[in-house]
């Protein structure tokens, strides 16, 4: 799950760098409709992964990550 989150975040960052280098209608559209959702999905996956490993459980004790 961490690897999928990293890939999604890397895709989002690649799009961001593309937009910063060459901003036009096409790259802005990709930024808005692919980059932002990819980043949100990556962050959501990471939070889900942390939640599944016990990071947000009320006891405050998190199980060690299984990698």
């Amino acid at each position: 799950m961490i690897r999928v989150a990293c890939v999604l975040a890397l895709i989002a960052l690649a799009i961001l760098i593309l937009v910063a280098v060459r901003l036009d209608g096409a790259t802005a559209t990709i930024f808005s409709f692919i980059g932002i959702p990819a980043l949100v999905a990556a962050m959501g996956l990471y939070v889900l992964h942390r939640w599944r490993t016990g990071a947000f459980h009320p006891t405050g004790t998190s199980r060690p990550s299984t990698h």
Partner: protein
């Protein structure tokens, strides 16, 4: 189209001889994030400190990126980069006075670098917000092909965009027709627009239908 005179005096907006931080900052923040995420991708694990950085840095880079897009999407070249808008932006250079936009653009009555944004956004923070929201819908419609030619303004044009500059101008106040109470009421009620009856159309018809405007 007229030949564009060469030289730094004719560049608009003037080029600042400095680093474009608006574009550089998102990249500078994104690069360490890329390194961390590549490390996480290879190892399949991120230590807590790196994980926090891997969350915060991409989010910060995107925040800066959004600021950059918000600011630089005001540029006329950005507006003209979508195929449907290209003829409209090209028609701005017409010097025959056939469209209100071209009259404003060629006479320098609006900032030439941000001519589209100047007239198509309202005043204040909500004007900017509305313009950006409309821009998002334009992108969505372009991607999905959900638009018809000739393209038309969604709703009525906000006359306050005209009055923001013209209302206080002596030349505007001196026109007899502008003093007519009935005309003033009709304009402010949005039952009448500046273009059509009195002033040329905002953009030439052939540009709105995707063709090339003649100059």
């Amino acid at each position: 189209m007229n030949a564009v005179p060469a030289g730094p005096l004719f560049v608009s907006p003037p080029v600042e001889p400095a680093v474009d931080w608006l574009r550089a900052l998102p990249i500078l923040v994104a690069l360490p994030a890329v390194a961390i995420l590549l490390w996480g991708l290879v190892r399949g694990y991120l230590p807590p400190a790196l994980a926090v950085a891997g969350l915060v840095l991409p989010a910060a880079a995107y925040g800066l990126g959004m600021l950059m897009v918000m600011e630089e999407s005001k540029d006329v070249r950005f507006c003209g980069s979508c195929h449907v808008m290209t003829p409209i932006v090209e028609s701005l250079h017409a010097t025959d006075g056939s469209s209100l936009a071209a009259i404003h653009y060629t006479r320098g009555l609006v900032p030439t670098g941000e001519a589209c944004y100047t007239c198509h956004s309202g005043y204040g923070i909500w004007g900017t917000f509305s313009a950006k929201r409309a821009g998002m819908m334009h992108m969505l419609r372009t991607v999905t092909g959900r638009y018809t030619l000739p393209i038309a303004l969604n709703g009525t044009f906000d006359i306050n965009s005209c009055l923001g500059c013209h209302a206080g101008a002596e030349s505007f106040r001196a026109v007899e027709a502008h003093k007519d109470p009935e005309l003033q009421k009709a304009l402010l009620d949005r039952t009448m627009t500046c273009t059509g009856a009195c002033h040329p159309a905002a953009h030439p018809e052939e540009a709105l239908t995707g063709g090339r405007a003649t100059s």
